[in-house]
Amino acid sequence: MSSKSQILKSIRRNAPPAAELPPLAGTGIEYPDPTAQFIDVLTAIGGTVVQAENTAAIGQHLETLDVYRDATRVLSTIDGVGKSNVDLDAINDPKELMNLDIAILPGELAVAENGAVWTLPGKLKHRVAYYLAEHLMLVVPADRVVSNMHLAYREIDFTNPQYGTFISGPSKTADIEQSLVIGAQGPRSTVVYLLS
């Protein structure tokens, strides 16, 4: 008997009595101003949020950042934003992105309750750009802010499921004596641009 049938047989033999699956129809907490809540939460966990009228405003803000001005390798997949000098399609081995300074990439949806942004790194040739860049800038449409995770999942299409990540602020760790350190293995800072 294969391991699979052995396991399934054991599960069936030991199956607990039937229990109903809750419909999860509720929507959870809804904030009067989800954008304000998103800004509060993401700021509290070490991220930055900038409300931008247009792509030019993003460019202006980038110029105020030391990490951007000092960057040598910049990747931007947002039209008209940033001095992109990395061509993902020309790179074959994702390890060549090891010293990527800045990545300016799209985010699909922002979640107010936890400061998370739903991203689809799988759309890039090298999804690792989202995690490998020293500093990550996400550009999210300003009208795509939802209050909580239940509402977020309603917006995500799973009929054709793809690789996606909720990213909530910069990478961090508190593994040494519970001291929070921002910038563990992934990006050291995260800026979310809410683009009108």
Binding site: P16, P22, L24, N114, V128, A174, E177
Partner: protein, 455 residues
């Protein structure tokens, strides 16, 4: 193993015990704050618990649905009855790709299977890329907590370890400096890795995908640089629908560390471009536990660690005192279901305060299960002879009023007269670290009767 012996060794260092206790209570306090910010918290707990109970009642169905949908996405799904089979499967995949270096993100399941020593014995270098896990790996230890693997280690000790292993400045113990050093060292490991291994937080039956949560981004780096990804999961990690994640991702990080969500919650659906994705489904006793009515709810566990952070015994005895992959209250239920004779002391490492059940986000009745285990262990005659006799004696005295009265009378009269060595000796485990209370002059019963007469 004997938890009291291990715990005695831990509490011998009083200063460290307090430090450990405080560190975990800090995390518990953060959890409280995060939980109180969600008005519908109790509804979320109820929903999470129901989803899990439902899934467990149709686990075979959901596993097969997951396999079908994952296969459609190009995932290779493997089934492993036990840890040995799990390790063999992982190794065969690595061997096929001639992998020599592996980057692994946090996975208690691979700890359970002792995957690291197995792969190392086959000449594969495996690096635990979660900072806490890397620290314990470099020390040749196992994690002492499922979410905070290095919670038992002081920053000075990490400093010394890093000085020896990766050449940080001698005496440096600043967490920021040490984390920065680890970032550089681990990024080299990521660049070298030819395959990535991760655990799984939730696997979704209806989509064939799964979710991995980290704060450091290490799971994402380890699975987006090398082309081969092996995800190892217990069969109880399955949930029916994508929308169930709305519930689970809201409770997981808040319960674990008091964060509103982990920094990265990555949804894998199929392999990366030009890559290969394998999922290993492990049973290792889980399907058997499913059949145990009193204990099956422990399969609801989402491994947040909240029960450990709140447990007065765990906080003061340290994770290693349990000698299990999963320590603390949940571990004290899981371990005896694997080997009751070996781990019989664990359900007794509990004051039955019930705090674990209060904080559990999936409503596992932890302290009830621990109490059940005590009964089962006694019934199976696993307890040592002395404890059995003590229990028998205690039960007889407590069940017979006349015997209880005589024992009380003799005790009140005799104990104060006895020389110290007759009261405080090997037989009196209660008096090991504390003084017996002074004997009352009269019994409660006598005083109560006086009072009634006076009325």
């Amino acid at each position: 193993m004997d938890h009291p012996t291990n715990a005695s060794a831990f509490v011998a260092d009083e200063e460290r015990t307090h430090w450990h206790d405080k560190a975990l209570w800090f995390v518990r306090s953060k959890r409280d704050k995060a939980v109180h910010s969600v008005p519908e918290w109790e509804e979320l707990r109820a929903a999470a618990s129901q989803v899990k109970l439902h899934t467990m009642s149709q686990l075979d169905h959901y596993l097969e649905e997951f396999e079908r949908n994952a296969t459609k996405l190009g995932v290779h799904v493997h089934w492993a009855v036990d840890g040995d089979e799990h390790n063999r499967i992982v190794y065969s995949i690595l061997e096929k790709h001639k992998v020599r270096h592996v980057a692994k993100s946090k996975s208690m399941l691979t700890e359970e299977c002792h995957l690291n020593p197995y792969l190392e014995a086959h000449g594969i270098e495996i690096t635990d890329t979660d900072l806490g896990e890397w620290i314990v790996q470099l020390r040749g230890e196992t994690p002492s907590h499922i979410v905070l693997p290095a919670i038992h280690i002081k920053k000075e000790e990490v400093g010394q370890l890093f000085h020896e292993k990766i050449g940080t400045d001698e005496g440096a113990s600043d967490p920021k400096y040490l984390t920065e050093a680890s970032r550089h060292a681990l990024r080299k490991k990521f660049a070298q890795a030819q395959a990535g291994i991760t655990g799984v937080n939730f696997a979704i039956a209806e989509t064939g995908g799964f979710v991995v949560c980290t704060n450091e981004g290490n799971a994402d780096l380890g699975t987006s640089l090398p082309p081969v990804h092996i995800a190892c999961m217990g069969i109880e990690k399955i949930i029916p629908r994508a929308k169930d994640l709305g519930v689970f991702l809201r409770i997981l990080a808040r319960s674990a560390t008091g964060q509103p969500i982990t920094t990265y919650s990555t949804h894998f659906h199929g392999p990366m471009r030009g890559g290969e994705l394998h999922v290993v489904l492990l049973d290792n006793g889980r399907s058997k536990l499913l059949g145990e009515e009193k204990y099956r709810r422990s399969l609801n566990c989402i491994r947040c660690g909240a029960c450990m952070n709140t447990c007065p015994v765990y906080r003061r005895s340290g994770g290693h005192s349990y000698e299990t992959t999963v320590p603390g209250p949940i571990g004290s239920i899981l371990a005896p279901s694997k080997d009751a004779a070996e781990f019989y002391t664990l359900p007794f490492a509990c004051s039955l305060c019930g705090s674990c059940s209060d904080v559990c986000p999936v409503k596992i009745d932890l302290h009830h299960q621990l109490l059940h285990w005590r009964g089962d262990i006694a019934q199976r005659r696993i307890l040592p002879w002395r404890k059995r006799m003590e229990m028998k004696l205690g039960s007889r005295v407590l069940r017979h009023t006349w015997l209880f009265r005589i024992a009380g009378g003799v005790g009140r009269w005799l104990l104060p007269k006895l020389p110290r060595f007759l009261v405080y000796n090997r037989l009196n485990s209660w008096g090991k670290q504390r003084e017996m209370p002074p004997m009352a002059k009269r019994s409660f019963r006598a005083m109560y009767q006086d009072r009634k007469r006076g009325e």
